[in-house]
């Protein structure tokens, strides 16, 4: 395809390629039995100018590197959609209902220790922020939700979150097993009601879907 470069150029090219560190022209020359490699290096630099890799000199040492405009290829980002864990969801809910809260307060409300990573996930998601420190002994960091949190969950303000009474009415305050049982019993009841319920569900999920898209 392209013309065969002369042997010295080829030798310099291979030497530089196989080198584990950038090399000075002198070191390359020594390696190749004392040949004058300056011209060969210039020829290589010119040859690679337009290609995906480049031969460059930095502080007197030569090396191969990726073409500057392609450096982004070396680090690619892959976005993965992941569901929030149960612990993180609970923590987020507690921050939303009680903000600003410290980690100790979150743990007191959850009744379980909260791993540092759990809050990190929420910070990474951009839904929780550090909102300063509480002026009590130890000055613990306190957390609050962000505008992104409201946007993601389609809330105009935290006041839109259902209150405790509403949660109770929805059966969401029942212990998990009882709630499940109640749900099963309910499903066996009048089939006539079901249609209505489904209708309501759909309305609700429609609303959610559009929120998801906007998020």
């Amino acid at each position: 395809m392209s013309e065969r470069p002369d042997d010295l150029v080829r030798a310099v090219e291979a030497t530089l390629f196989a080198a584990e560190m950038p090399m000075t022209a002198e070191a390359i020359s020594t390696h190749l039995g004392g040949a004058d490699v300056k011209a060969a290096l210039r020829e290589l630099a010119a040859h690679y100018e337009e290609r995906g890799i480049a031969v460059v000199e930095r502080a007197g040492r030569w090396h191969f590197q990726t073409a500057a405009d392609l450096a982004h290829l070396l680090r690619r980002e892959r976005e993965e959609t992941r569901r929030l864990s149960r612990a993180a969801t609970e923590t987020l809910a507690i921050v939303a209902y009680h903000e600003p809260v410290s980690r100790a307060e979150i743990e007191a409300i959850r009744g379980v220790q909260t791993a540092k990573g759990t809050l990190d996930v929420l910070l990474e998601a951009g839904w929780v922020r550090v909102a300063g420190r509480r002026e009590v002994p130890g000055r613990p960091v306190i957390y609050a939700t962000t505008p992104e949190f409201l946007a993601h969950f389609g809330l105009s303000s935290r006041k839109d979150l259902p209150g405790i009474d509403e949660l109770k009415a929805a059966g969401l305050l029942d212990p998990v097993d009882d709630a499940l049982e109640a749900a099963l019993t309910r499903s066996e009841e009048a089939a006539a009601e079901e249609k209505e319920t489904r209708q309501a569900d759909e309305n609700w999920s429609d609303g959610l879907a559009s929120e998801d898209e906007s998020a």
Binding site: A14, F17, A18, A19, E20, M21, H63, F64, Q65, T66, L73, L74, R75, R76, E77, R78, E79, E80, T81, R82, R83, L84, R86, A88, T89, E90, L92, A93, I94, A96, Y97, I109, R110, G111, V121, E124, A125, W127, H152, F153, G154, L155, L161, P162, I164, L167, A170, L172, L173, D174, P175, V176, A179, L208, E211, D212
Partner: protein, 268 residues
């Protein structure tokens, strides 16, 4: 005798060390007799002797080869070299092959000596082919010896970024569950109506005192008690009856399995 037994013996000698240092050069003729350790078994020695005939392995004289091998073993013994058993086994087998080859055809066993000779030849060809192949393989431009990979590749990195998902319902439900989980729990222990053994004992013995007739156990139970209390009373009364029978104060009879259990006072 099976075909297998008649075939060349596979020797039991383990191979030499697997990563050798700089290879020891074999070669000179007298070295042949001193390098016994250098052979990878008798088949290897046979192949080397065969190659000394400098003809295609397909046209090799098996009789000639047998003679060479036997001569080699003889000389090695004269030189008092220690021979591994497999070399001697091979020598014996080759001597047998030679005598068979020299016998008139009709006196030969099955398989024929010619067949055994051909088998030996085929095996030598196969070993030779692999030996040549190995040499050619080793002579190729090898990565890390003749050709090299890039000394300091930047490496490709894929940074994972998470896009977290959670919806309104999950959030609200999670809060509800936290609340439900941590709400103070009140345990209600319901009062159960029971008849203790003591009261059953008192009740049964006093009722037995009233009559000498047989009384069915059920009749001892409180008449207006609810179902749960009746169950408890039945169990306690039964135990009480057994206790009275043990003490010799009452006797019990049941005519058939699961039939009514009757009880009466023992008259002394």
């Amino acid at each position: 005798m099976s075909q297998q037994d008649l075939d060349l013996p596979v020797t039991l000698q383990p191979a030499e060390e697997d990563w050798a240092g700089p290879a020891a050069a074999a070669g000179a003729d007298e070295a042949l007799y001193l390098e016994l350790d250098g052979w990878e078994g008798p088949l290897d020695l046979l192949l080397d002797l065969a190659r000394r005939q400098k003809v295609d392995l397909r046209k090799i004289s098996i009789l000639g080869l047998v003679d060479q091998y036997l001569l080699y073993i003889e000389r090695a013994e004269e030189l008092r070299l220690e021979l591994a058993a497999d070399y001697l086994v091979m020598a014996a087998w080759l001597a047998y092959l030679k005598s068979s080859l020299l016998l008139p055809r009709e006196e030969q066993d099955q398989p024929s000596a010619e067949e055994l000779a051909m088998r030996l030849q085929l095996r030598l060809q196969r070993l030779a082919a692999m030996r040549d192949a190995a040499a050619r393989l080793m002579g190729r431009d090898r990565l890390g010896r003749d050709v090299f990979l890039r000394g300091a590749p930047e490496g490709l990195r894929v940074d994972r970024k998470n896009r977290w998902q959670c919806d309104w319902f999950d959030l609200v439900q999670a809060y509800g569950q936290v609340k439900a989980r941590t709400a103070p729990v009140v345990h209600m222990v319901r009062d159960r109506m029971v008849m203790t053994l003591d009261s059953a004992l008192a009740r049964v013995s006093s009722m037995l005192g009233v009559t000498l007739d047989w009384i069915e156990l059920r009749e001892f139970l409180p008449p207006h008690a609810d179902a749960k209390l009746r169950k408890s009373a039945l169990a306690s009364s039964f135990v009480a009856a057994l206790e009275l029978a043990r003490m010799g104060k009452a006797e019990m009879v049941q005519e058939k399995t699961f039939g009514p259990l009757r009880l009466r006072r023992m008259t002394v």
